[in-house]
């Protein structure tokens, strides 16, 4: 298949993109939680205020 590529070349090609994809998933989850927290805080402040 990709037999012309050495292991290092193959890893050099694939690893960065896999890492980027994981970063995207982490961001999506983290940002969602942060959004929810800020929304809750804001509603709380509004209710208190």
């Amino acid at each position: 298949m990709a037999g012309a590529l050495s292991t290092i070349d193959l890893l050099g090609l694939v690893v960065p993109f896999v890492v980027f994809f994981i970063l995207l998933v982490v961001y999506y989850v983290w940002e969602g939680r942060r959004e929810q927290r800020l929304r809750d805080q804001y509603e709380e402040e509004m209710n208190d205020g």
Binding site: P16, Y27, Y28, R39
Partner: protein, 574 residues
């Protein structure tokens, strides 16, 4: 066989190409006349939502660089060209997560639409230096961007109808300037979106069709040259390291490019940012991997063909592998996307002259009519300068033109200032001015080291004689320019008097609040803050691209509708 393609695209390709262009103009004319409900028009608007927001942010990259330049780079470099996404993808994610919301909120606080005005107000600069220097930077490098798009358009026309490059430059330049003068926003968000989608699909189907025909390209690439299947393009040691740094450094340009940042300033629902980020990121994965594969398959398919200009490999492969009608649509979409990008960039440069310099300094009492009239003349002037630039550099690759004369300059000069305004309270106006000057000068000088040192009689040391010096002097200039710009920014800021920290503290507190808390005051009848439609001045006008969009939003009662439909929660939630 492939060589005969140049200037010899089949009748159906040309017919489809022409029909697409005519349809685009018709849609644009009708859209500009009839679209009163401009929910469709708005970037990130009610109906278009986060998908188009994400696409729009990325479609601004769908210029000649990605469509023609990256495949050409892969054609010349091999699999290392996949590293074009090495810096861009994480840098874009960092921009969405670290800049987008802050910039959107802060631009509301300091009431600015253009970046120079934003910088000036944020840094409390009453000398005008920040605004002037940042405007000059925008004029120079956005002008370079327009020139690069014109060269890309000329390249495409050369492949399709065989005209000489200089003829293509004149025709492409005339189209860009005419398109912008006629109103610019003919290509509304939806057509930009579809063009981006067509090109993205092209970067999927071209490799798939090629795969069906040839299988994976790696064996053939290795047979042509083993460096083609090396992730460092056959380089070792310092050369390999600086090669990888060069690709990674491309991402440093993201925060400095106004056509990306202005999309962030146009965000209306912060809740959508997360989804828009995912769309933009997935777009990049597909586009960068697909574009590199296009170049690699072209290398396999066009073996033995004399290629005078590697920028032509993407259209050549398209014509070679796809049915005529499909090829015509893809190439027409590519040309239209270049025109649209050039239009945005020309408008950014125009607004820097007319709004930031003329209206800001020379004539603060200028009327709306004067500003619109001058903006047309300035568009014409910068447009002609860009055509001249394109003519002079028509032999340079689009990849290099964009990175060295546009993207890199904006990234080195504007990027550090933009990041620091949002993240560092101690940042000063003098630090910004010094950083922009150092970034600009370094970015202009770095690609010229060969010429400079040759003139001095020494030349760049060879890779054998001094691998480190050779690598350093030939690395992509944005890397040293960005580093020096950041160092200058920090040192000068620490040595100079900071702006009033109480004000800045108040501003930075806003980052912890939902957008609704920031947007709750000073609304007009439609709910839109007045300043959003007038570029920060008392009289409404339509000079920048985003001003145009916002003016349309106001006309469409978009905000009022939106509040009615969804209530405040949806739009304003953090």
């Amino acid at each position: 066989m492939a060589e005969s393609i140049a200037g010899g695209a089949g009748t159906w390709v040309l017919v489809t190409f022409a029909v697409y262009m005519v349809v685009l103009v018709v849609i644009g004319v009708y859209a500009s006349r009839l679209l009163d409900t401009v929910g469709d028009y708005v970037v990130g608007g009610r109906r278009v939502g986060p998908v188009v927001t994400g696409f729009s942010e990325r479609a601004s990259e769908m210029s000649g660089w990605l469509t023609l330049g990256v495949p050409a780079n892969a054609f010349g470099t091999g699999i290392m060209a996949f590293y074009n996404g090495l810096g861009m993808i994480p840098a874009d994610l960092a921009a969405w997560s670290g800049i987008a919301k802050r910039l959107r909120k802060y631009s509301e606080v300091v009431r600015a639409v253009t970046l120079p005005t934003f910088f000036e107000t944020r840094l409390q600069d009453d000398t005008g230096q920040v605004k002037i220097i940042s405007s000059v930077v925008l004029i120079i490098f956005e002008g370079g961007y327009v020139g690069a798009q014109i060269v890309a358009a000329a390249t495409l026309l050369r492949v399709l109808i065989g005209v000489e490059m200089w003829v293509g430059v004149i025709v492409g330049g005339a189209i860009v300037i005419g398109y912008t003068m006629l109103g610019g926003y003919f290509a509304v968000a939806w057509t930009d979106y579809f063009q981006g989608a067509i090109i993205l699909i092209a970067f999927i189907i071209l490799p798939v069709v090629a795969f069906v025909n040839f299988g994976l390209p790696f064996q053939d690439l290795a047979a042509i040259d083993s460096a083609n299947t090396s992730i460092t393009a056959g380089m070792t040691g310092w050369a390999a390291l600086f090669g990888i740094i060069s690709y990674a450094a491309i991402g440093l340009g993201v925060p400095g490019n106004p056509h990306i940042m202005v999309r962030f300033m146009g965000i209306d629902r912060v809740r959508n940012v997360r989804k828009a980020t995912v769309v933009a990121q997935l777009f990049m994965f597909v586009a960068y991997i697909g574009a590199a594969f296009v170049g690699l398959y072209a290398l396999v398919e066009l073996q033995g063909v004399a290629i005078e200009n590697t920028d032509t490999v993407m259209p050549r492969l398209t014509l070679e592998l796809l049915p005529s009608v499909v090829a015509g649509v893809i190439l027409a979409a590519a040309l239209a996307a270049m025109m649209s990008s050039a239009d945005s960039q020309l408008l950014v440069a125009t607004s820097a002259v007319v709004e930031d310099i003329y209206h800001g300094f020379m004539n603060q009492e200028a009327t709306q009519e004067q500003l619109v009239r001058y903006s047309r003349w300035v568009t014409l002037g910068i447009g002609f300068a860009s055509v001249a630039f394109a003519y002079l550099f028509r032999g340079t690759s689009i990849y290099t033109l964009v990175l060295d004369y546009a993207w890199g300059g904006l990234g080195a000069a504007i990027g550090p200032t933009l990041i620091a305004t949002l993240w560092w309270k101690r940042f000063t106006a003098k630090g910004s001015v010094a950083s922009m000057i150092v970034g600009t000068v370094t970015m202009i000088i770095w690609p010229q080291w060969g010429t400079i040192l040759n003139a001095l009689g020494t030349g760049i040391p060879s890779a054998e004689a001094s691998p480190f010096l050779n690598g350093l002097l030939t690395v992509y200039g944005l890397f040293p320019a960005f580093v020096l710009s950041v160092v200058t920014l920090i040192v000068v800021s620490l040595l100079t008097t900071p702006p009033n920290q109480e004000d800045i503290d108040d501003h930075f507190d806003v980052f912890q609040k939902p957008l609704s808390a920031v947007m709750s005051e000073d609304r007009g009848a439609t709910g839109t803050p007045d300043f959003l439609t007038d570029g920060g001045t008392p009289q409404p006008k339509a000079i920048t691209e985003m001003d145009s969009v916002r003016a349309h939003v106001e006309d469409a009662d978009y905000w009022e509708d939106h509040d009615h439909d969804h209530g405040n929660d949806d739009r304003t939630s953090e």
